[in-house]
Symmetry: C2
Subunit: 176 residues, 2 copies
């Protein structure tokens, strides 16, 4: 069950480390830039079709990279000062109002997508969709029970029925 392992890996190797520090990084960033975020939660994008782009602008022109938060450095598994950082995006809503928030895709979904493209990985497209849902459920469950992560994240499930709407992403984000 690939999704189960990826959800735990995402939590233990990333969210459990970075979410407790997020509030402090956001405050440090506010002191530097005086730029207020509508929310200090990490918005985690989960596209049902596992299509993960490198830059959010590729999905919706109303979502534009603004700047990165201060970096977090940790000694991990032999790598000295491994860097963890998040990007702040400026979202323009339907009324042309602008918001800033911390958002990124759940990178493990990129693994699921690439596995489905490799003949030797043993994951077809139908199974991939099931795995995305299992990942979402497993991750929600883990995070709900995590004291370190409570109230510090927002899972944004993106269904692909809205593929035609070029502003679907900004609409979903301004709903958070």
């Amino acid at each position: 069950n690939v999704a189960h392992g990826l959800a735990w890996s995402f939590y233990l190797g990333y969210l459990k480390l970075v979410l407790p520090e997020l509030q402090e990084l956001v405050s440090k960033d506010y002191n530097l830039t005086r730029d207020k975020l509508i929310s200090s939660r990490l918005h985690i994008l989960l596209p049902m079709n596992a299509v993960v782009t490198a830059r959010l602008e590729e999905e919706d022109h109303n979502v534009r990279f603004h700047r990165n938060l201060p970096e977090l450095r940790l000694d991990r598994a032999g790598v000295r000062g491994r860097v963890y950082k998040h990007s702040v995006y400026k979202i323009t809503d339907q009324n042309q109002k602008e918001y800033c928030c911390v958002v990124e895709y759940a990178t493990p979904l990129l693994t699921l997508y690439q596995m489905s493209q490799d003949d030797t990985a043993g994951l077809g497209e139908t199974e991939r969709r099931q795995q995305v849902l299992l990942f979402y459920r497993a991750l929600s469950h883990i995070l709900e029970n995590s004291l370190e992560c409570r109230n510090r994240y927002c899972l944004v499930l993106l269904d692909d029925k809205h593929a035609g709407d070029s502003h679907y992403l900004s609409k979903e984000l301004t709903r958070c």
Copy 2:
């Protein structure tokens, strides 16, 4: 099968990206420091007991952090300029001779270890050991068939029968 997913994730989300760039990072580093590495391969440590330390010195005093290679920055899943980097360690062998090489633990084993410590993750200690072996086999297989990674890595399986030997790690590394 957790190990299968973690092996693909480690390959698709990390090794496939960094190994092709490693030679260039090592050459760039040589131009800056005139410090020659015995090998430009990434030495990946796979402890059978999944015990992964933050710093290699904790395992063996004959393995000491030397410096980091130049950083690699990539736009990934919404994070602008995500940083990937490797640490160079100085290894002292049994004859007091010194070597430099690029080495780190296979991060997914840390996930396996932490999962076995969590009651809700559904992975016991016996099963964890099996998963480490499955991870090693799956990863070897994937890497052998990868054009991007061929000859750019060295998998170092560390069995725990040598737990009493405080220089086991340096001995294994100087064998590569």
